[in-house]
């Protein structure tokens, strides 16, 4: 398993240390702290009924943000349902992520400069699509890549193999990230597959496979950066398996992790926490302090408050809006229905 920082925040793999400036290192930390706060707020907003569907991310910050940090602005992200932080840090306004969560279509109307899809609900669908986006980028002569995310469970879908195989066959610039957070809802990874690692599944598709410490943000960053370079240099796609953990429930819709997870396992993984580890490292370099951390926490809280306000202020979703966007030019049946619903909505 590829690792750079150990649990004590010490460098254990000096040769692999990525070339990041002090500011960039601080920015990585800032994003992880911010995202942890956002996750906590999202959970509580969900409990108050002020947010819709939400899949907690705490424990996966290094995996999500380390990989996203290695991308260029033009790169495409094809996220799974949990991968909202990556697209927000890629440019999606936070209030739109909240709208998405509430099931409002403006949440899916991404700004022009954000090359990403809305989070995918169907596990595996984003993986085959990634092969297509990557091939498209290559054919258009772009120096960019398509990255996609799924979980350990998602690696069982046929689409997972098909996506890797296609990208490999076309030598398309794709990066497949499997965030192995140990569980697919209740099913532990050992019961998901007899394969020793998920990274080894790359072998069957003839592409690179790397298992990375997903609690180590530097390792995830470095591995993704290398995968990106290989991809744009025509050396084909990479599968990254990031070993991490999901502290919370699977989603906020009634999952109870105590049914399938022991608190010992929770404790064991919390010792590997990506924030603690990176904080120690940065503190040892005098790049982080309690004061800095508090600033980020306050900033995150303020931003979230403002974003929620903007979410609340967004006009309510209408069925007529949905009818209008079904086709570029409305067929007759929908024209009639549009009138019916407009009338209904005007009452």
């Amino acid at each position: 398993m590829f690792q750079i920082l150990n649990e004590e925040g010490e460098i254990v793999n000096k040769d692999a240390l990525p070339d990041l400036s002090d500011e960039e290192l601080q920015e990585l930390m800032r994003r992880m702290v911010y995202t942890r706060i956002w996750d906590q707020r999202a959970i509580s907003l969900n409990r108050q009924g002020r947010l819709g569907f939400y899949a907690p991310v705490a424990g996966q910050e290094a995996s999500m943000l380390g990989s996203q940090f290695a991308l260029e602005k033009e790169d495409w992200i094809l996220p799974g349902y949990r991968d909202v932080p990556q697209i927000v840090w890629h440019g999606l306004p936070l209030y739109q992520a909240f709208l998405y969560s509430r099931g409002h279509f403006h949440g899916g109307q991404f700004p022009e400069e954000v090359n990403a899809l809305m989070p995918q609900i169907i596990i595996g669908a984003q993986i085959v699509q990634t092969a297509g986006v990557a091939l498209g980028l290559k054919r258009k002569g772009k120096d960019s890549v398509a990255i996609t995310y799924t979980g350990d469970g998602g690696a069982s879908q046929g689409d997972f193999y098909e996506g890797m195989n296609f990208a490999g066959a076309y030598s398309a610039p794709a990066i497949f990230v499997v965030q192995n957070n140990q569980f697919a809802i209740s099913v532990p990874v050992e019961e998901q597959s007899a394969a020793k690692t998920i990274a080894q599944k790359a072998v069957a598709a003839g592409i690179n496979g790397v298992q990375v410490d997903g609690m180590d943000v530097l390792a995830v960053y470095a591995a993704t950066k290398e995968a990106r370079e290989n991809a744009v240099n025509g050396d084909g796609p990479t599968l990254l398996e990031t070993m991490c953990y999901r502290y919370g429930p699977h989603t906020m819709a009634g999952d109870d992790p105590t049914r399938y997870r022991t608190s010992d396992l929770d404790d064991e993984w919390e010792k590997k926490d990506p924030l603690v580890r990176f904080r120690k490292y940065l503190e040892s370099k005098d790049l982080w302090s309690e004061e800095k951390e508090n600033e980020v926490v306050d900033q995150a809280k303020d931003d979230i408050k403002a974003a929620i306000k903007k979410t609340d202020d967004t006009p309510k979703q209408k069925v007529s809006d949905l009818i209008e966007i079904m086709f570029e030019k409305l067929p007759v049946n929908l024209q009639q229905q549009l009138e019916e619903y407009r009338e209904k909505e005007s009452k």
Binding site: H104, F105, I121, I122, S156, I185, S186, V187, Q317, D321
Partner: protein, 325 residues
């Protein structure tokens, strides 16, 4: 007799059949220790062991292929698709393969499979969880499609489905899982697949419906009764095959009908019922048969589903149009 919710009745049916027949196997994503995301299989693994009730890897196409293979070797698979929108991942397994096994083998092999799955709107799930895909299923020859609307029906229909030697798609409306309780016998009983039920008698108008819309229609019927219109509410219970005998009998009595479905309008089960009424009872009709449906969009994002889904006032309105024709 016990008071049960629909989900308890469903669990009870599976428990009964796991006990009765050692060939019955229950499997799917998270159905084991977790007892299913809705707890439909709660306690079954503990009671019957991991060989009979088990988690699968996360792959719907794999799950249905497994079911087909187990069915060929003498088992009676009860497989779960966690939410019915995920059936697209295995359209070949369900509509292309298990539905055709008997036909392909000249009747030599069969697929004694029950595909259980939650579906249905009004509970604010993410995309592709709530979609009403029964019309797609009903169009696949070789599949039976069952949709219970009450706990009592759910138990009897699920037992009949598991015992059926042909593949049955058993769709469980999420909104009905825990919305009310009713008396459900503890002993076993079956309800014939393909047999509709008259949930309310009336003489002025027939409302043909199924699933959660049965309750919406019953509510509408009450409102209509206050205005002196007696509506008969027929719960199809099975949308493939359709019990047109019961429907036609009713239409002969009431001379008027509407069909109510949660699904989008075009094609679909409602359209089929209207066509069959025309075929079999056109001379008894005093008015055209109208439909109450959702519009022809993708199932909407959660923020819009309350307006999108038909409700009892839509049913009342349409019923009056037919009455006043």
């Amino acid at each position: 007799m016990a008071q049960m919710t629909m989900i308890q009745a469903i669990t009870d049916a599976m428990r009964t059949e796991l006990k009765n027949d050692e060939n019955v196997l229950v499997f799917g994503e998270d159905v084991g220790q977790n007892g299913g995301v809705f707890r439909a299989t709660d306690g079954l693994q503990e009671e019957f062991g991991e060989e009979r009730v088990f988690d699968t890897p996360l792959a719907e196409s794999g799950i249905s292929g497994l079911a087909i293979g187990l069915g060929l070797t003498g088992f009676r698979p009860v497989m779960e698709i966690q939410f019915f929108g995920f059936v697209f991942e295995t359209m070949d397994g369900v509509a292309g393969q298990m539905a055709r096994m008997r036909y392909r083998s000249g009747g030599h092999y069969h697929s004694p499979i029950t595909v259980r799955s939650p579906f249905g709107g009004g509970v604010k799930t993410p995309e592709l969880h709530a979609d009403n895909l029964e019309g797609l299923m009903a169009q696949a020859p070789g599949l039976k499609v069952v949709i219970p609307s009450t706990p009592y029906d759910a138990k009897g229909l699920l037992l009949a489905s598991i015992r059926d030697n042909d593949p049955v798609i058993f769709l469980e409306h999420m909104k009905l899982y825990r919305s009310f309780r009713e008396e459900v016998p503890e002993e076993e009983y079956t309800i014939e697949i393909g047999k509709a039920d008259i949930k309310r008698e009336g003489k002025d108008l027939t409302i043909v419906t199924y699933g959660a819309m049965v309750h919406t229609s019953l509510k509408a019927a009450e409102e209509l009764a206050e205005e002196g219109i007696e509506a008969e509410v027929i719960d199809l219970r099975t949308v493939s095959p359709l019990d047109m005998d019961t429907v036609v009998e009713s239409v002969k009595k009431t001379n008027r009908a509407i069909v109510v479905q949660e699904a989008q309008k075009q094609a679909g089960v409602g359209a089929s019922v209207v066509a069959d009424i025309n075929d079999n009872a056109i001379l008894h009709l005093e008015a055209p048969v109208l439909r109450v449906t959702a519009p022809d969009t993708v199932y909407p994002f959660a923020a819009a589903e309350d307006v999108w889904l038909p409700d009892h006032t839509d049913v009342v309105e349409r019923a009056k149009t037919v009455i006043n024709f």
